[in-house]
Symmetry: C2
Subunit: 348 residues, 2 copies
Amino acid sequence: MVPIRILSDNDVKNILDIKNTVACVEKAYALKANNQVRLFPMVSEVIFEGRAEMDIKSGMLNEEDVFGLKLVSWFGDNKNQGLPAITGLTMLFDLKNGFPKAMINASYLTGMRTGAAGSIGVKHLSKQDSKTLMIVGTGVQAIFQIAATLSQVQTINKVYIYDPVKYENASKFQYSIKTELDKIINDINDTYNKSWKQRIESVQFVAVETPVKALEETDAVITITPSRKPLIFKEWIKPGIHFSCVGADMTGKQEIDEKIFEVASVYVDDITQASTVGETQSAIRAGILGKNNLTEIGQFILGNAKGRTSDEEITIFDSTGIALQDLAVSKYIVSKAEEMNVGTIVQI
Amino acid sequence: MVPIRILSDNDVKNILDIKNTVACVEKAYALKANNQVRLFPMVSEVIFEGRAEMDIKSGMLNEEDVFGLKLVSWFGDNKNQGLPAITGLTMLFDLKNGFPKAMINASYLTGMRTGAAGSIGVKHLSKQDSKTLMIVGTGVQAIFQIAATLSQVQTINKVYIYDPVKYENASKFQYSIKTELDKIINDINDTYNKSWKQRIESVQFVAVETPVKALEETDAVITITPSRKPLIFKEWIKPGIHFSCVGADMTGKQEIDEKIFEVASVYVDDITQASTVGETQSAIRAGILGKNNLTEIGQFILGNAKGRTSDEEITIFDSTGIALQDLAVSKYIVSKAEEMNVGTIVQI
């Protein structure tokens, strides 16, 4: 019998802030580039065609002395019963003896680490004075992308919201956005989150029916949809734009025109995953680029890759979501939970 | 927040008996042969070369309305600190909505379902009047193989114990065997387990230094070691013998001479796993047989395969261990736990 710490979604919400999540995800990318981590093969399965999917991402973080996995599922029909479509669990094990350490509800955790990923692309690869962000998609993950990007990129003062399914989703989302952003803690040390409230108030949020006109003044786009066809076309974009493509995580998914890859510098979280299940897969399949045209973002964070070199360069960050993000954030959550005495300890 | 039932190893010990475990495993094999289940790709990783391994097995059982996974690790150095080398967890999720249902300590569960698998091979494929069993290997899993086989094959009255590393392991094991068998519940309905005690007393246990002479009167062999080279050679065996090969579950593992496959009928739990990570891999690699020479044991259970046809036939059952065994047994454990009000419910 060993003790295992169980952390609910509420526990995670009480522990996790944007700044620490971003720090963990950047660290995971850097450790990966330094080969101090291992990513195990992903299990990605359709459970019921068009209605339910599941994936298991696993790996190990040597420096943090943990290995583990995250199982996340999507059950589309849940919405009809008012239940969340996406649920999941993270399991953390001790790299010294294999014993289980913690089980963590992965819902909020996934939103936060995915938001961190999208924002890291914008922070490191968009133009230095980027002012306008466009978010494509208004599902549960969208708010985390906006929150993390506003936290990390202080120059942004306008956010266009585009929903490819219907405009009403975008306009509805627009009116709830400040309240929702306020629920996500930016910085755990900013006790009353005062500067975060000011930051939110400093931004204009604008729902748009079509992206074409808004793209003329957009500096960075984050795509976060389950799309299987391009939503943004090469003819619509101007030089200097950045894309963080976050939605594609399975074979057949695609959010932007593969022709944009012809004129872009491409960064990814993991070359294998990006070229097989990420946004990059469609450009690879079309023969527009090969794996050797891809740079892992961890190489940039470590200073081994140069990143953007001019205000005209078009950049893409393809974030497929890797287990190391989950493990690094989970390890942080567990350390804080021990410190704060949060969660339920069960002997197993 | 959803409720999840946490079941410790002690909880599992209080719930699980041999007869129900065997029934669950046979049902899992049959459902697999009937395509009412899905096995997802296995993740099998060496963590530290020669010192630690980990695997994640996952799948879904449509009829039981569950999907899930088992993560099991082996950390060899744990023994030096008096800790168990093998630990693991099973996670069960609801196939209706993806919500987590239960987390179960997988130690005892794994022993029981692995013992059930080995015994199912002996029960269905050894000669009808099999009297003598040989167990090769005296690690933690050995007792479960013996227990399940004595439960399922009533004609066996002698068990040879052979340890390929050193004889002392076998002779030590021999003296603890009746006490250890007594700790494993055979039939939950046999309240005081009276007939089980009688059954154990009816058997002779004999440690042997080498297997050669004992094999002359052995009807069925179960191999349960981490070996990477053959331990039983073709020259040593007689017609009519059965092998349940249970130890091999990774690339490079092997317990019996691949030449035995030249003269044997071969049954497996899963053709893909058996031919890549099971005992069968070495015979496949040597060109002795192909995948089309393999029959899944579920086909026999369903009555679609004929099984043994004479007392001279040599049979092999290659059990690599599939997620469906774990899921079927886990589902049974959870149903019993609900009925008996066992375990800890945590809101996650």
